[in-house]
Amino acid sequence: MKPFELLDAVALPIEQANVDTDQVLPARYLQKPRANDFGQFLFRDLRFLKDGSEEPSFILNREPYRASRVVVAARNFGCGSSREHAVWALYDYGVRAVIAPSFGDIFFANSLKNGLLPIVLPEDVVADLLKVLVAAPGSRIGVDLAQQVVTAPDGTRHAFHIDPFPKHCLLEGLDELDYTLSQMDRIIRFERLYDVVMPAMP
């Protein structure tokens, strides 16, 4: 995982609530190996027509939104299927942060493990951001993970929460598993006691 860097980028507004991971990455690409560029499948059925040409009305196909590296979305973004490919699609396209009032829990966890920062901001703040991004296409949003601050296009700063450990992993580009494996003695000790107390499997 690459370290998370300071962001100051064009932001894409997604006004629709409950954008599910089937929309972000349709199921028919789930069998593709990770080596693929999943950015080409991002919002595939919204972005492209049946013949493979671009759907001109879809916002990501319009300048200056094409260069978006931040997504601002309505509530419950990434709900539904646990497919991590949805995160890969956003990441491979170049998106590094998604701001929403709430997320699908599994999408949220998957994002943190792949260098994509999910940021929860209050519903009214997100609603205001969406208005600005629609009214002034190409507006930029800043994300400073170290300071835990989002900077709106008008310069307003919004603090956000992130647990210290995933923050550390994102900033340093670390894999959580290394830390987990360093605790293996404790896991094994726990399991030994656990197996004594718990009924045995046949």
Partner: protein, 475 residues
């Protein structure tokens, strides 16, 4: 271990019993009892291989292919897409290499993981169970903490048999009263999601309680917990009781002999203590719940079958109005149209939500002696090989086939169409599955979620139908 003097919820008891250690930021390393692995898990095994790590606890891990298996035969060679075939093959090979028990395509126990797991007695009360599939919430019906995870977390569980988690909030949904005729577990959960919304339980684990939940069979509880994720919940659960214990007793992977007695003593301690507090409480009256059906592209878009397609003009804001108009356009529906006037092209009975034997029995009882409408293509896809065998032993296959249904082999099939079983673009499917998302059953597909008896009624009439009318007619 269980602290006696402070009243605790079922979730808190399980959580505390599985806490290996707590990190400075409050996240807990949670011990994982059981790990279910399906045929979409190749990326997770690949992540481990790249790091040179072998799965640590194969005896706690079970696999079966469900997403990519064909349902018209058991011939893996019929998977013509090389990448899909590779996914299905990878599960067999990765399982064999790691020493993981795999119920392969030729094994009668093969099926959808969330059908096979409880059926084999793999899901125990009080345990933590995970799987790289969002509908893992299903297993909570037995009083387990069961939740879906992504590929990276699958690789972490394979490597460590433990997972970092922040303790979820708790929500109790109490459903009291008796369900009316023709109203099922599926209608309860659709009514719940319509009430609290698709984001209503984000960050929460739901405990379902109340007399209507207690009165459900284990299979009904599995249906309710299955769709907890559709309300945004991390997991759903039902406190274990005699229904749970009778369901589990004697199943192949349930505890045996003295271990069973030991288990039972522990499991009886699990239900939420009187006085334990939940972060949120929700109440529903079972008598208010009608057979439900969805009209839109989110499971929260559920209405009673006696209802109508909503009117975007009555939406609360401009964006909501625009979203509803887009949805009605995609779904090909007209505002104000009675739901019972919606004609359908396809019926799908199956999935981890409603692919169990009781679901098939209930649907067959509606279908028996009737024919499906000529315009309808109707399928039954049992949730597992054993469900299929049981149904055949009871003659349900003949009832369905005599009515004009296709009777197929077990798998996820048309719920998400990854194996190629898809609803054609523009066609409308009455489906016992869990998601009506845009393109979920295939690009351009239109899905109406409903119960098995409602799906059977729709198959017979060719339109969305109040199953109670068929029940009344038969009386």
């Amino acid at each position: 271990m269980i602290i006696k003097n402070v009243p605790q919820t079922l979730l808190e008891k399980i959580w505390n019993q599985h806490c290996i250690m707590e990190r400075d930021d409050g996240q807990v390393l949670l011990f994982i009892d059981k790990h279910m692995v399906q045929d979409g898990s190749a990326p997770a095994f690949e992540m481990l291989r790249r790091r040179g790590i072998a799965p640590r606890a194969p005896h706690r891990t079970f696999s079966t292919p469900d997403h990519y298996v064909p349902t018209d035969s058991r011939d893996m060679a019929s998977i013509t897409d090389p990448e899909k075939r590779a996914m299905a093959d990878a599960l067999v090979n990765d399982s064999a290499r790691a020493g993981i028990t795999c119920f392969g395509i030729d094994d009668p126990r093969q099926g959808i993981l969330h059908v096979t797991g409880p059926e084999q007695g793999l899901t125990w009360p009080g345990t933590v169970l995970v799987c790289g599939d969002s509908h893992t919430s299903t297993h909570g019906a037995l009083g387990a903490l069961a939740f879906g995870i992504g590929a990276t977390e699958v690789s972490q569980v394979l490597a460590a048999q433990a997972l970092w988690q922040r303790k979820p909030k708790t929500m109790r949904i109490t459903v009291d009263g008796a369900l009316g005729a023709g109203v099922t577990a599926k209608d309860i959960i659709l009514a719940v999601i319509a009430k609290i919304s698709a984001a209503g339980a984000n960050g929460h684990v739901i405990e379902y309680a109340g007399s209507a939940i207690r009165a459900l069979s284990m299979e009904g509880r599995l249906t309710v917990c299955n769709m907890s994720i559709e309300a945004g919940a991390r997991a759903g659960m039902v406190a274990p009781d005699d229904v749970t214990f009778e369901y589990l007793a004697g199943r192949p992977y349930a505890p045996k002999g003295a271990e069973w007695d030991k288990a039972l003593a522990r499991w009886r301690e699990l239900p939420t203590d009187a006085g334990a507090e939940f972060d949120r409480e929700v109440f529903l009256d079972a008598r208010d719940i009608a057979p439900m059906v969805t009209w839109g592209n989110s499971p929260e878009n559920a209405v009673p079958i006696t209802g109508r397609v909503p009117d975007p003009a009555q939406a609360s804001g401009a964006e909501q109005r625009a979203a509803m108009e887009r949805t009605l356009d995609y779904m090909g529906l007209v505002p104000g149209m009675p739901m019972t006037e919606v004609t359908i092209d396809q019926v799908f009975i199956g999935s981890c939500t409603n692919g169990r034997i009781e679901d098939l029995r209930a649907a067959a009882a509606i279908v028996e002696g009737r024919k499906i409408a000529e315009t309808v293509d109707a399928w039954v896809v049992p949730g597992s090989g054993l469900v299929k065998a049981q149904a055949e032993a009871e003659g349900l296959d003949r009832i369905f086939q005599a009515a004009g249904f296709q009777w197929r082999y077990a798998g996820c099939s048309m719920c998400l169409g990854t194996n190629g079983d898809q609803v054609p673009a523009g066609k409308r499917c009455a489906s016992t599955t869990n998601r009506n998302f845009v393109g979920r059953q295939g690009p351009g597909s239109r899905t109406h979620l409903l119960s098995p008896v409602m799906a059977a009624a729709a198959a017979v009439t060719g339109r969305l139908t109040d199953v109670r009318q068929i029940l009344d007619g038969a009386r």
